[in-house]
Amino acid sequence: MHSKLWRGWVRLLLAMILWTTLGATAEPVTLTLDHGLVARAEYRKGAADKPAVLILHGFLQTHAYPLVHNLTDALASAGYSVLAPTLTLGVTHRKQSLPCEAIHTHTHEDNARELNEWLQWLSARGHSRIVLIGHSMGSAELLLYLRTHRPRAVVHFIALSLVEAQTDLDSDRLQKLRSHLQRKLARGDRGTEVHPLSFCRRLQGTPQTFLSYYAITPQRVQSAIKSLRIPATFIMGGGDDRLSAGWIERIRRTGQRVVIIPNASHFLDGEHEFDLIDVVLETLRQVG
C-alpha cells in the first residue's frame, strides 16, 4: 500500500513537471453550437498515434472541475489528446458551475447534441479514435449518448462513478411528479418548478428539464450498458456513498469491466486520484 502511495506521488510530480513544459499546448477552445450558444472546452493536443480522449464533467459542473482537470492534465501528460468540454446548459460561454437555484432550462437531449458536436469537432481535427470518459452523471450522459448516436470514432468508454439521475423520491412519488410535469408541459405551461434532482435537493427547472433528467433511470442506464457495442470500463469508488444499493453489482452483472478503487469516494479524489489515473492510463494503453 505504501509503495503504491509512493509511486503515486512520483507520478504526480512528473505530471506537474510535464504540465509546466507542455502547458503551452493547452488550448481553450469554443464551439458555436447549432442553437447559437457558444460552448467552451479545453483541448490538449497529444500524439497522433494515440486515441483522443473526451472527458465530460458531472451534473452542472464544468471542465474546470478538479477531477476532470487533473485527469485532463494527466492524460495530456501521457501524450493523449484530450478534450474537456463544458456543457452550456443553456448558457453561452458558460464558465461557472450552474447552481441548483439557477433557472435550469437544459435537457439531457441538449447535452447529447452538444456532445455530438464536440465529437464532430474532434473528428474534424483528425482524431479517428476517441475514448469517452465521463464522471458521475456525465458518465450516464455519455452512456445514453452512445446508445442513441453510436458514433464510429468512439473506441472505448470509461465511466467514473457512474450514477443514474437520482432523486430523493420513491418510485411512486417520482412517477406522480413525472405525470404532473408531463401534464403541465402538455398544457403548454413552461413555468419553472423546484424539485430534487441528482445532488440538488431543490433544483429550479422547467418541466422539460425535470422530465429529461428523470428519464435517466437505473434501469435505463443498466440497459444502456448492456447495449454498448464498444468496450467499456467502469471505475467505481469503493467508498462511494452516493450509489444505490447493489448498483456496482448490477453494473458488474452487465459483463463490463468494473474496476473498484478501494475506499475511494464518489469523487475519486485525494490519493485515490492516482489509482484512478493508473487505471485510466492502463485502460488507454490497452485501447492502444
Binding site: V38, V91, T92, Q96, E101, I103
Partner: protein, 738 residues
C-alpha cells in the same frame, strides 16, 4: 474708612472665590464652546471626507456588482433566452446576493431596448446612456434614483457586447448603509438640487447636501464636563455651606464672643475677665489668641487695680493731712465746690476751728508738742462730729467742717460738743500747763450757696470769737460785717503796705496823765493806717497782724513811725510816748534793738514799752532779759491789759516791769453795783501798788471813774474822759480841778 466686619470679610472672600469659580467656569465654557465649534468645523470636513469615501465605496461596490453581474453566466443565459428573465431579475438575482437589497437591475439588448418591462419598478424602456463611466441621477416622484449602466460582453474576455445591464438604486439609502459614519449625519443626507443629470459617480459628493453630527467623543466629553460641572457646582455649594458653617463655628462665633468679651471689658474695665477654662475655641490660633488676650487682660487688670489702688492712695494722700489724718485743704476746696454744685443742698453751715495761742504753744513747747496738740485737736473734733461730717485741716491750727443740710442750731450743738471735748482733753500729758482752747466761728447759708462768702463769714465769726471778752463760739451775723476788714484784701494789703512803708502809719496819741494831779505824763500811740479815703483802726489792724503773724514786723514799723514823729518833734510827744509791743516783739532782738535805738536817739523823751498779750510770750526768760535791757536803757516797761486774760499775776511776778496797766474791763468793775467786784479790784490794785509798781488805769471815761482810781491809788490814768482834758491847750490841767 469704614471697617469691615468679619462676616462681611469672609462673605467678600466667598463671593470672590465664587466669582473666580464662575469666571473659571465661564472660561471653561467658552473654551469648550470654541472647541465644540472647531470640532464642528472639523466634523463637517470629516463628514465630507466620509461622504467622499462612501461615494467611492459605492462606486467600488457598483463596479464589483456590475462586474459580477456582467461576468455571471446566468446573466448571459437570460440575455440569450429571456423567457425566464423576470424570474431571474426578481428572484434569482436576489437569491444569489449579487445585487444588494434596495438595488434593482434590468437587462437591455445591445440596441438599448429593455429585455422585459418591470411592473414593480420603473426602469427606462430604453437606455439613453451607454457610457459605463457615468451615472444618471433622475428624480422620480420627488425621489432621487441613481442609474448605472454596465455592458455585458459575450463572455468575460470578449469585447463583443451581448447586452447591457442597468442598476437602479437609491443613492442616499445606499450611502446610509455604507456607514457607520462618525461625523456625517446619515439622516441629513440629501441633494442640493432636484434636477436630472448625468455625472461621474465620484462627483456625486458635489451634489450632496449633508450636515455633520456632533463628535460623539466630544459630545461625550462635553456631557461629562457638564456632569462634572454640575457636580462641581453642587460640590462648590456644599463646600461653601460647609465653609460657612465651619468658619462660623470655628472663627466667627469665637471672634464674636471674643469681641463681645473685649467690648464688655471695654465698657466695664473693672469687670473680671471670664475664666479661661469656661469657654474654649476649637481653632488653635484663636484659642491661643483668646488665652493670650485673657492673660494680657489679667495682667492689665492686675496692673489697673494696682494703679487704681495707688491712685486711690494718692487721691487720699492728696486730700489727707499727713499729720492728723483728716482731710486737707484740697479736699476742703473740692468738697466746697461739690456742695455748691449739688442742687439738692438747700442750706449749709461752715464751722471753723482755731486753736487759741497755738503759735505761743508751738514756740514755747516746741513743734513736736505743737504737732501732738494738733493731732489731739483733730482727734477730739473727729470724735464728736456727726458721722457724715468731715473734718478738714486748713493749715496750722485751723480746722473746718462743712455741714451741708445742717441748720445753725445743729451746727452750734456740734461746735459746743467740740469745745467741750477739747476742754476735757488732757493736754498736760504733752507738758502743757496752759489751757488749750478753741475759738469756733460758724456761718450758715442757704441756697443758692456761696461757700466762698460763707467761708468769709465764718472767718469773721472766728475773729469775733478770738476777740477778748467774747464767747469762744461765734456765729456770723450782719453786725460782724465791720470785721470784714480782716478778710478784706484791701485792708490786708494796707497792713502789708504799712509794714513796708511805715510812713503810712498814723497815730492818735492818747495822753496818759499822772494822778492825782492829771499832769500829762506821756502819750500812748494808738496806731491807724490810712487806706484810700478812710482809716483802719487798731482793732482791725491788730486782728490782721495777729492773724497773719506779723507782730514783729508791725512792731518794727510802729517804732519807725514813732521815731518819725519824735523826730518831727510833735507836741504830743514832748513828755514821752508809750509804744505797744507784742509778745513776739518783746522776744525779738530786732524790736528790742529798735526800741533801744529809739531811746538812744531821743534820750530826753520818756519811752514806755507796753507789753501786750503776755500770755502769748513763749520765751519768758528772753522776755525778762529784754525787759531788763530796756529798763537799763532808761525805758519804762508797762504790763498792758492786766486782768483781761492775756496778762495775769503770774507774769507780773516773773516780769520786772515798772508799770501795770489795768484793763478797761477791770477798771469798769469799779463802778459796778456789786461791792465785791470793786473790793477785789481795789485789793489787787493796792497789792500791786504795795509791790512797788505804778498803776495805770485804762478806760477812764467818766469823772466818777477817775475819782475811783485816784482813790484806789492808781498813779496814771487814760481814757476818753482824760483825752478831752488833755486836748485843752496848752497844758493839761489836773482832773481834780475839774
Amino acid at each position: 474708612m469704614r471697617k469691615l466686619k468679619l462676616h462681611q470679610l469672609y462673605g467678600l472672600i466667598l463671593l470672590l472665590v465664587l466669582a473666580l469659580w464662575a469666571a473659571l467656569g465661564l472660561y471653561a465654557h467658552l473654551s469648550l464652546r470654541h472647541l465644540a465649534q472647531r470640532s464642528e468645523a472639523e466634523a463637517s470636513r470629516q463628514a465630507l471626507v466620509e461622504i467622499g469615501a462612501a461615494v467611492a465605496e459605492l462606486e467600488r461596490r457598483l463596479e464589483t456588482i456590475t462586474q459580477q453581474l456582467a461576468a455571471w453566466d446566468e446573466t448571459r443565459q437570460h440575455l440569450n433566452n429571456p423567457e425566464y428573465y423576470p424570474l431571474w431579475r426578481d428572484v434569482r438575482v436576489r437569491h444569489t446576493g449579487l445585487l444588494p437589497e434596495g438595488m434593482r437591475v434590468a437587462l437591455y439588448r445591445p440596441d438599448g431596448t429593455i429585455l422585459a418591462r418591470d411592473a414593480q419598478v420603473l426602469m427606462p424602456a430604453r437606455l439613453s446612456l451607454q457610457d459605463p463611466r457615468r451615472v444618471m441621477l433622475r428624480w422620480e416622484q420627488g425621489k432621487a434614483w441613481l442609474y448605472r449602466v454596465f455592458p455585458i460582453p459575450v463572455h468575460p474576455d470578449a469585447r463583443v457586447i451581448l447586452g447591457y445591464g442597468l442598476i437602479k438604486l437609491d443613492p442616499l439609502a445606499e450611502l446610509r448603509t455604507l456607514g457607520p459614519y462618525r461625523y456625517a449625519d446619515p439622516a441629513s443626507f440629501g441633494f442640493r438640487h432636484h434636477a436630472d443629470t448625468t455625472l461621474v459617480l465620484s462627483a456625486l459628493t458635489n451634489h450632496l447636501r449633508l450636515s455633520a453630527r456632533p463628535d460623539p467623543s466630544l459630545q461625550s466629553i462635553l456631557q461629562e464636563v457638564h456632569r462634572l460641572t454640575q457636580y462641581a457646582v453642587i460640590l462648590a455649594l456644599a463646600l461653601a455651606v460647609l465653609f460657612l458653617v465651619t468658619l462660623r463655628q470655628l472663627v466667627v462665633r469665637p471672634m464674636h464672643r471674643l469681641s463681645a468679651e473685649i467690648g464688655a471689658l471695654r465698657d466695664d474695665p473693672q469687670r473680671e475677665a471670664p475664666d479661661g477654662e469656661a469657654i474654649r475655641f476649637h481653632l488653635w490660633e484663636l484659642e491661643q489668641l483668646r488665652r493670650t488676650f485673657l492673660d494680657y487682660h489679667h495682667r492689665l487688670y492686675s496692673l489697673h487695680r494696682e494703679v487704681q489702688r495707688s491712685s486711690e492712695l494718692f487721691y487720699r494722700q492728696a486730700r489727707q493731712d499727713a499729720l492728723t489724718g483728716v482731710y486737707n485743704r484740697r479736699a476742703f476746696d473740692e468738697d466746697r465746690m461739690a456742695i455748691e454744685r449739688d442742687k439738692r443742698v438747700s442750706e449749709c453751715t461752715l464751722i471753723l476751728f482755731d486753736c487759741d495761742h497755738f503759735k505761743a504753744i508751738n514756740d514755747t513747747y516746741g513743734h513736736p508738742v505743737g504737732d501732738l496738740v494738733i493731732q489731739a485737736l483733730a482727734q477730739c473734733l473727729t470724735s464728736v462730729l456727726r458721722a457724715d461730717d468731715r473734718l478738714y485741716r486748713l493749715g496750722g491750727d485751723e480746722f473746718a467742717s462743712l455741714m451741708p443740710g445742717a441748720s445753725i442750731e445743729t451746727a452750734l450743738r456740734v461746735a459746743e460738743r467740740c469745745q467741750e471735748q477739747v476742754r476735757r482733753h488732757d493736754f498736760s500729758r504733752y507738758g502743757i500747763t496752759e489751757p488749750v482752747t478753741l475759738s469756733i466761728g460758724l456761718a450758715h447759708g442757704a441756697a443758692p450757696l456761696d461757700l466762698t462768702q460763707l467761708h468769709r463769714h465764718a472767718d469773721l465769726a472766728m475773729y469775733r470769737a478770738k476777740q477778748p471778752g467774747h464767747s469762744k463760739i461765734a456765729v456770723y451775723e450782719e453786725a460782724l460785717g465791720r470785721l470784714a476788714a480782716l478778710v478784706d484784701n484791701r485792708e490786708i494789703s494796707a497792713v502789708y503796705e504799712a509794714i513796708r512803708r511805715p510812713e503810712l502809719l498814723q497815730f492818735r496819741y492818747q495822753p496818759v496823765v499822772r494822778l492825782p494831779g492829771l499832769v500829762p505824763a506821756y502819750c500812748e500811740a494808738l496806731c491807724r493806717i490810712r487806706c484810700e479815703d478812710r482809716l483802719i483802726g487798731p482793732g482791725a489792724i491788730f486782728a490782721i497782724v495777729q492773724n497773719r503773724r506779723l507782730d514783729v514786723e508791725f512792731d518794727l514799723a510802729v517804732i519807725e513811725a514813732i521815731r518819725r514823729d519824735l523826730a518831727a518833734d510833735l507836741a504830743e510827744l514832748r513828755q514821752g510816748v508809750s509804744i505797744n509791743v507784742s509778745g513776739p516783739g518783746l522776744v525779738s532782738d530786732q524790736v528790742i534793738a529798735a526800741l533801744l535805738h529809739l531811746k538812744a536817739q531821743f534820750p530826753q523823751r520818756k519811752l514806755v514799752v507796753e507789753i501786750t498779750e503776755t500770755a502769748l510770750i513763749t520765751q519768758m526768760d528772753k522776755a525778762t532779759a529784754n525787759i531788763a535791757r530796756l529798763r537799763a536803757a532808761g525805758c519804762l516797761v508797762a504790763l498792758d491789759d492786766f486782768g483781761s486774760g492775756y496778762s495775769s499775776l503770774r507774769y507780773l511776778a516773773s516780769m520786772p516791769v515798772d508799770m501795770v496797766k489795768f484793763d478797761m474791763s477791770l477798771i469798769h468793775l469799779l463802778v459796778k453795783e456789786d461791792p465785791r467786784e470793786r473790793l477785789i479790784v481795789q485789793d489787787i490794785a493796792q497789792i500791786i501798788a504795795t509791790a512797788g509798781y505804778e498803776l495805770v488805769a485804762e478806760g477812764i471815761e467818766t469823772p466818777a471813774l477817775l475819782e475811783q482810781v485816784i482813790a484806789i491809788g492808781f498813779s496814771h490814768a487814760q481814757g476818753y474822759h482824760l483825752d478831752r482834758i488833755a486836748l485843752k491847750p496848752p497844758t493839761l490841767k489836773p482832773h481834780s480841778a475839774a
